[in-house]
Amino acid sequence: MERPMPSGAPSVATASLFVVASQLAGAVFLYLVLKAEGGWQVIGLLALLGAGFFLLEKKPRIADLAMASMARVPLLAVAMAAVVVLAFPFAVGSNTYMLHLLIVAQLYAVLALALNFQLGSANIPNFATGASYGIGAYVSALLAINFGVSFWLTLPVAALAATLFGFLIGIPSMRTRDTYLALVTIAFGVVVQQLLNNFDFTGGPNGLVGIPAPSLFGHSFADPLVIFGHKLPSQANFYYLAAALVAVAIVTARRLHGSRIGLAWNALRADEIAARAQGINVAWYKVLAFAVDAFLAAFAGTIYAFYVSYISPDNFTFLVSVTIMTMVIVGGMDNIFGVIVGAFLLTILPEKLRAFSDYRLLFFGIVIIGFLMIRPQGLFPQRMRDYGSHS
């Protein structure tokens, strides 16, 4: 393997061109996938995607160029991404189904990013992300239904409640590891789901109905969104809300990854005892990983609850946790971009393969096993930490 020349950083023009072109290409591809109907179109697009990955694999220079370009013109990259995300609903127009898929995909992206702190960064198994997601959804929904609390106030309260839960699951992680810890998180997940299913005040198996739509500055999220005289369906409100949450999650993930906390998590993953020997407070960082996961998952849960306005325990089962885990594994552990791609792919593809909608879980299972066998590092493997040695 030849190492790319660090000195060969692209010029500003090349970098800008690359950033704009690649983001537009990504957006167009996403649009086509969303628009695609019938098996053949989807399979054709998948083949295109596969070819793209093959190319990336054969020519690591492309990935390096991408990273270098982003680093060269970071502001342009962010601005371009913002423009693409903001403009997307206008391209989609009145197709509410496409918007719905995008919202769900974005929420899953947040959940996958949340889980990535543990599974990816610290290699701690957690099968309870679905439970944190559910706690967020239920706490906010109960507050809104019973006490008429506004959506914006329920967000922090739900996050706080879920974070406490995260600390709670984190406590056994101080003593248990690997398989045993996995069982503890599974147990927590089952307990939460069973309690939601049995308590009266959570509506039992029927769940909670009639969660009021949030409103901002007098604009109800149930109403169509009008921007510059252009009318977007009401889903667009939640699309932008979810997009904002994804942005928050990405910033959080990047900041944490770059901080001593992220470094400590990576040290835990490499070797727990060695990390302890280096003076890293192993127990604290493990618990922290659980808490951060729960915190972000609760945000996603709150938005989900207010978006669909109906939640039931079935939305937060063990299988949801497994699905989130799949997204992280398929996308690439500890790679923020990869995790988001994984979440989008695994949300949209099963929906698109309508013909196989019954076989969705089967598809999921086979995808996970296949990935773990053939490409355990995921679509976008983790990149080496860059300590700025060549700048």
């Binding site: 069982l183 503890v184 147990a187 089952v190 355990p376």
Partner: protein, 319 residues
């Protein structure tokens, strides 16, 4: 505490009898369920003890047995009990083979991978098995009635009837555990299995063909699981494609709280899990719907205080 004399007074006696009957009844229930869980847990423990791999889909593998048995029974047009017995035996053997095949195709790839990988892969394998039953078996999404293997009352204990079924489960469990013990302790293959579980590499150097050891282990574990699956379906009276997930979770929990890799631990774990379930159902109002909550809270509590399980050896950690 009230004095014993008052309790034994005549007017209270029927009350006590009823309590006693209830207790005996629930004890029987506990033993039956505990045996089934113990059989499931043994499979988890056996596979973990030898491969150091968690076969999370073991419960799903086990719960394919009732479906295979039903399919065979329909195929034979089962008229006499002999055919049913044949179907049962064939189902057990088929599930044993299924275990071997799954090891060969999937689990083998994760033998030396991080524990997380194997865990997630086998969770996914469980999903695949469940969904395969659902789609391949005729009307697989619906519950299918499964007959009581034996019916009728065997004898009475203090006025409480003991079903032949409970007797069958208990005898079968004790016999299987006894056989497994004899097999592992007194046969050449059992010796090789134990050697491989001590140290795979050294066992290989001593001329033990580890492939054969793994095949044997998976066959035995899956076949024992199949027995548990058949008994469970028979106990419940129905079988469903998604029973595997609960069977897997409960069996795995039993193995873990007993201490993975320890046979007595698996049995103890099975009895404890079943005990909590029965206690919750008997003494807690609306306990039946909260039974899983109690079970998993206990699992969490045990793992906090004994991270390697009750009878597990504490793990030596090395860099």
């Amino acid at each position: 505490m009230r004095a014993g004399g008052t309790l034994l007074m005549r007017p209270l006696q029927p009350e006590i009898w009823r309590m006693a009957e209830l207790l005996i009844q629930q004890m029987l229930n506990w033993i039956t369920l505990g045996c089934i869980y113990a059989l499931l847990a043994i499979g988890f423990s056996l596979i973990f003890g030898i491969l150091n791999v968690i076969h999370f889909s073991h419960g799903d593998v086990a719960m394919t047995a009732p479906f295979i048995c039903l399919a065979l029974a329909t195929f034979f047009g089962a008229t006499s009990p002999y055919w049913l017995v044949l179907a049962l035996v064939l189902a057990i053997l088929a599930v044993g083979l299924l275990g071997v095949v799954l090891d060969r195709v999937v689990i083998r790839q994760f033998r030396d991978a991080p524990a997380m990988m194997a865990l997630v892969a086998t969770v996914a394998l469980g999903i695949v098995i469940r969904e395969a039953i659902r789609h391949l078996y005729p009307e697989g999404s619906n519950p299918h009635a499964f007959p009581r293997l034996v019916s009728g009352v065997a004898f009475e204990v203090a006025g409480v009837p003991v079903n032949w079924f409970s007797v069958l489960v208990t005898v079968l469990t004790v016999a299987l555990i006894g056989l497994l013990f004899v097999f592992l302790r007194m046969t050449p293959l059992g010796l090789r299995i134990r050697a491989a579980s001590e140290d795979r590499v050294v066992a290989r150097m001593m001329g033990i063909r580890d492939g054969r050891v793994f095949r044997a282990t998976f066959f035995i574990a899956s076949a024992i699981g199949a027995v548990a699956g058949l008994l469970f379906a028979s106990y419940a009276g129905v079988t469903r494609f998604d029973f595997g997930i609960m069977a897997g979770l409960l069996g795995f929990s039993a193995a873990v709280i007993g201490g993975l890799g320890s046979m007595p631990g698996a049995i103890l774990g099975g009895l404890i899990i079943a005990g909590i379930e029965v206690l919750a159902q008997t003494f807690v109002p609306d306990g039946a719907s909260y039974r899983l909550v109690f079970v998993f809270l206990l699992v969490i509590a045990v793992l906090i205080f004994r991270p390697a399980g009750l009878l597990g050896r504490p793990v030596m950690e090395k860099v």
